[in-house]
């Protein structure tokens, strides 16, 4: 796996970024993505990507973020190569700048959401989802999915170990054969997940899930002054992006 699931897994912390309201953080990630989509040139995209660095420093996740970038850069290189190939073959004016921009878009997309998930506890995330009037069942399922990602990953590893110890070879050239060889790993993984979900359902039921129509919540999201400030900045950034898009002629720096 080139992009590890850990790139999106919450890393506990109590920094400013961690404590920011998840809705604000989500909005921030969206602003970045919008920026990446509407500004199709290398220079502004580089600026957006660079602007993430201070953010990760505040959240103390720079190392993780760089790992994400490293992992994603392989895909980014592929995107670059494909775009470059097709735009050279085709008629597009400035193939190099355009292809780099496409790769950068991808990096921005991946890393803005990685920053969001790295600093947002799944529980906070589900609170935010709930606030968006999505039913508790759905947001709870989301939390649970996140809680069990590492468990499932460990289980997959253990199953692979068990089957390799029985002579299963996962390497080899023949693609079809290789796919078939993953069955002994997939079947136990699925069977165990079913068993696990049964047990989880039993445990939830035994803890009174659904007994009252009106569930209370230990934590509620409170919009604080820092959240407001961050939101303000994000809105400003959004305006700036739109303004740039409409009124500024962006120079092409390469190609």
């Amino acid at each position: 796996m080139m992009i590890h699931y850990k790139s999106f897994k919450f890393k506990k912390g109590f920094t400013l970024l961690h404590r920011l309201d998840p809705r604000v953080k989500f909005f921030l990630a969206c602003v970045n993505v919008v920026g990446a989509l509407v500004l199709g040139k290398t220079l502004p995209l580089l600026v957006i990507l660079a602007s993430m660095l201070p953010l990760t420093v505040v959240g103390r996740i720079t190392k993780e973020w760089l790992t994400v970038l490293k992992g994603a850069s392989v895909f980014a290189a592929v995107i670059f190569a494909l775009n470059f190939f097709f735009s050279v073959v085709g008629v597009t004016g400035r193939p190099l700048d355009f292809s780099i921009a496409m790769a950068l878009r991808f990096l921005i997309l991946i890393s803005s959401f990685s920053i969001f998930f790295l600093t947002t506890a799944p529980d906070d995330f589900s609170l935010a989802v709930q606030k968006a009037r999505i039913p508790f069942d759905v947001s709870f399922a989301l939390t649970m999915a996140m809680r069990f990602v590492p468990v499932l990953a460990a289980e997959a590893r253990s199953i692979a170990d068990a089957q390799r110890s029985r002579g299963l070879e996962l390497e080899g050239r023949n693609l079809l054969r290789r796919a078939k060889n993953y069955l002994p790993i997939l079947i136990p993984l699925v069977a165990n997940s079913l068993r696990r979900s049964m047990e989880l359902a039993e445990a939830m039921e035994s803890r009174g899930y659904g007994v009252k129509k009106q569930r209370t919540s230990l934590y509620s999201l409170k919009f604080r002054r820092t959240d407001l400030a961050a939101l303000g900045l994000a809105v400003l950034a959004l305006f700036f992006i739109v303004f740039t898009r409409i009124y500024v002629k962006i120079p092409t720096i390469v190609g």
Binding site: T143, R147, M204, S206, R207, G208, G210, V211, S217, Y219
Partner: protein, 279 residues
């Protein structure tokens, strides 16, 4: 506290009943250890006590089950949850949140309690099982024993009057198992919670028990004082793994070397041996 009369239960699409004519009365404050070979119906019986059977599992049930004055058949599990707490074998699959605190909160939120009360109960329950410091830890950062204690706290926080444990230590090493048993014994002793515990490690569990129930093939084989039961016929209890000191005591008692009933712990046996010799 628990009243079971002529309970017969068959899982959906199963050929034969998993429970056959079970009668069991447990009074408030008792600590009952439930033993029996694999597949004899212990887990099935536990599921009956908070209504997972029949409400969740379906199947055919006849007889009467009453727990904490509530008829299990006419109350769904989620209502019974405030009165009967079930702790399962695998700690991992009982914790679904990212922190211990939120996991304990889960049941209390379901009950619709106000946040201040939830917070009070979380602190109380975590202290009661001795993991107050782990409030902000994630389940995967805990050892198996700590996870199981967290699972116990989750149930305890709902203030049930009966707690049912289904092999709570079977994934744990001896030290953690011992600590779990002591925790449960403390809840029984200090809070008066009625305990039913399915357990294979009799040498650890019986020390705390006021009563022992042995099951076999879906029915109850023996029910009474642990010492009395273990002093009786060894043959029919072979499958459950009689603690070795108890077995040793029984052999010596047969030869009239020391008087019955049997001892449950090495210390108790040594003391009784010395006493018998000095007479």
């Amino acid at each position: 506290m628990i009243e079971i009369e002529e309970l017969v239960y068959t899982y959906p699409e199963a050929g034969k009943p998993a429970l056959k004519d079970v009668n069991l009365q447990i009074r408030k404050g008792e600590f009952v250890v439930l033993a029996g070979p694999s597949g004899c119906g212990k887990t099935t019986l536990c599921r009956c006590l908070n209504g997972l059977i029949p409400h969740f599992y379906g199947g055919d049930l006849s007889g009467k089950i009453q727990v904490a004055q509530l008829d299990v058949l006419s109350h769904p599990t989620r209502e019974l949850a405030q009165h009967v707490g079930l702790v399962f074998q695998n700690p991992e699959n009982q914790l679904f949140s990212l922190t211990v605190e939120r996991d304990v909160a889960f049941g209390l939120e379901n009950l619709g309690l106000p946040p201040a009360e939830i917070r009070r109960r979380i602190d109380w329950a975590l202290e009661a099982v001795g993991i107050g410091k782990l409030k902000d830890s994630a389940p995967h950062e805990l050892s198996g024993g700590e996870q199981q204690k967290a699972a116990i706290a989750c149930v305890l926080a709902m203030r049930p009057s009966v707690m049912v444990f289904d092999e709570p230590t079977s994934f744990l090493d001896p030290a953690s198992a011992k600590s779990i048993m002591e925790t449960v014994a403390k809840l029984n002793r200090e809070l008066g919670i009625t305990v039913l515990m399915v357990e294979h490690r009799l040498e650890m569990a019986l020390k705390h028990a006021s009563r022992m129930v042995v099951m076999e093939k879906g029915g109850i084989l023996a029910d009474g004082d642990p010492r009395e039961i273990l002093s009786g016929a060894a043959e029919k209890l072979r499958g459950i793994g009689i603690p070795k000191v108890a077995e040793l005591h029984r052999l010596l008692a047969e030869k009239n070397l020391i008087p019955p009933p049997v001892s449950l712990s090495p210390e108790e046996f040594s003391a009784k041996l010395m006493e018998a010799l000095n007479r």
